[in-house]
């Protein structure tokens, strides 16, 4: 578990500001369906429809847990400008992953997984979006296999589904305009880790179903 990571002061200040702004705009309410154990690495996985998703989950977590929770985000988006780079690195301490089209898979097969696995080994938690990309907010698309590999490599890590509601209406794909709409984040019961002899496709469907049941 130890040592606990600490964010730099400027990062914490900016984070506090962003969390408040986020709450002001989305009035986000977190609902916890299961109690949250304090010191345990977890993978929070959520449906993805907006660039704000990661921040909303982060803002919904209790303040003392936040430094230990690292959002996984796409490097191509979050490294593309100075401001985004600053927010991703200094404020959210994000794990930045290169999204590559399928044909390049052979080049760097497991680099992304290693990057995500590292914090888990150190006892930190992750926020991931297993759909891999933002959807239209109406349905949850099929999960990519990253979550399966992570679950397999870390059987003790809890997988917590988080259902985000209305974020696609706040900042949808293809828009830069933020509209203040009330949002909610529902944290479900952890899903059971990979069962004996469970196939990848089965597990991915099961994890996705657990997330879908949280939808109101």
């Amino acid at each position: 578990m130890e040592p606990r990571t600490k964010l730099p002061l400027d990062g914490r200040l900016v984070a506090g500001f962003l969390v408040r702004l986020c709450r002001l705009l989305t009035g986000v309410r977190a609902r916890w369906l299961a109690p949250l154990p304090e010191k345990q690495a977890r993978i929070y996985y959520a449906n993805h429809s907006s660039h704000l998703d990661g921040m909303v989950i982060w803002a919904s977590l209790p303040g003392h847990l936040r430094p230990q929770v690292r959002p996984v985000a796409a490097a191509d988006y979050w490294l593309s400008s100075k401001l985004r780079r600053y927010i991703a690195r200094r404020v959210f301490n994000a794990v930045l992953i290169k999204r590559r089209p399928a044909e390049k898979q052979s080049e760097q097969p497991n680099n992304a997984l290693e990057l995500m696995n590292d914090p888990l080994k150190k006892g930190q938690s992750l926020i991931i979006f297993p759909e891999g990309t933002r959807g239209n907010g109406e349905e949850i698309s099929a999960f990519k296999s990253g979550i399966w590999h992570l679950a397999k490599m870390n059987p003790d890590v809890e997988l917590v589904p988080v259902y985000l509601e209305n974020l696609n209406r706040v900042l949808p794909k293809g828009s830069r305009l933020v509209v203040p709409i009330l949002c909610s984040a529902t944290f479900g019961e952890p899903v059971e880790s990979i069962r004996e002899g469970e196939e990848k496709a089965e597990f991915l469907l099961r994890a996705r179903a657990a997330l879908e049941t949280l939808a109101p």
Binding site: G27, N136, R169, P172, L177, V179, P180, I181, L182
Partner: protein
């Protein structure tokens, strides 16, 4: 807010005195009856009333600018609740951005600038034409009429109607110069106390529901007791207004009836959307819109009655 004005000071003392009595009563009821859900909700409501009154008075302290800003924030929160409850689509996104960040501030700017002519028609004419146009440009035709109507009505209720309350400050009433803040307080107090008294009479004597499918809590007994007693309260407050006592009575009756109509229509919206409250930001009361639903209908008519007969 002018504290040289004796009647204003008396009014505020009376208001907070009433709250104090309510808090003591709430405490005693909890002692006698135990902390049942209804009693807990009653006390949560009283605590929230303290917060709302203190916040409102603090805002009004800063004069017309503070009062106007107070209602602008209320409009913003109410509009957010209305739009959240409406299933909007991606094609509405840009129009909604305009509603929240351009048209809402403009409407309150017009209030602050006392520009009556434009204030009165800005939303019903310009916003009503602009919203569907922007949505049409976005190119989504599914339920177009329904979607634009829902956004237009949200703007109407949450922004246009509510903005008539601070607009009272722009009226020039001969012999009542620089005292309009009391008119605004009169409107708020009569409308809100009517809500409270309808709730109290309903809880004590309520038997026959008026519209059981809309709201089981609105009963004939609550309606009659609440409206009559709130009208009496309004009449007894004639000395803070430019009205004669009989005028105060008539105007109080009109605005309490309108407040009831507002509450009824908002209940219909909530039932249709399958929710109990618009939101959860005010403890015990629900959302902002749940608190100001009656003001929505009362404010514009009150404003125009005064503008027609007293200026």
């Amino acid at each position: 807010m002018n504290f040289q004005d004796k009647s204003l000071v008396y009014l505020l003392c009376g208001l907070f005195g009433l709250l104090l009595i309510a808090s003591i009563l709430g405490y005693l009821i909890a002692l006698v009856k135990g902390n049942t859900p209804v009693v807990a909700n009653l006390n949560a409501r009283i605590r929230a009333w303290w917060m709302m009154c203190i916040l409102s008075v603090m805002a009004m302290w800063f004069g017309p600018v503070g009062s106007t800003l107070l209602f602008a924030v209320m409009s913003f929160l109410a509009l957010r609740e209305c739009i959240t409850l409406t299933p909007t689509r991606r094609g509405d996104h840009e129009a909604l951005f305009w509603c929240f960040f351009i048209m809402l501030p403009l409407q309150y700017l017009l209030v602050g600038e006392r520009w009556y002519g434009t204030f009165a028609i800005f939303i019903p004419v310009y916003a009503f034409l602009f919203i569907p146009t922007r949505m049409a440009l976005a190119g989504d035709t599914v339920n177009f009429l329904e979607r634009s109507a829902k956004i237009q009505w949200s703007m109407m209720l949450a922004v246009y109607c509510i903005s008539h309350a601070p607009a009272l400050l722009m009226l020039n009433i001969p012999g009542y110069e620089n005292q309009n803040i009391k008119l605004l307080l009169f409107l708020m107090i009569v409308v809100q106390i009517s809500d409270v008294l309808q709730y109290v009479f309903g809880k004590l004597f309520g038997k026959r529901p008026i519209a059981p499918r809309l709201s089981p809590n609105k009963t004939l007994e609550g309606f009659a007791g609440g409206i009559l007693s709130a009208t009496l309260v309004g009449t007894l407050l004639w000395w803070i207004t430019p009205f004669a006592p009989w005028q105060a009575a008539l105007i109080s009756l009109v605005i309490t009836l309108l407040g009831f109509a507002g509450g009824l229509c908002m209940s219909a919206i909530k039932r249709d959307r399958g929710v109990k409250d618009f939101g959860a930001m005010i403890e015990g009361h629900g959302g902002m819109m749940d608190r100001i639903d009656s003001l929505c209908f009362a404010a514009p008519v009150f404003f125009h009655l005064i503008r027609f007969y007293f200026t």
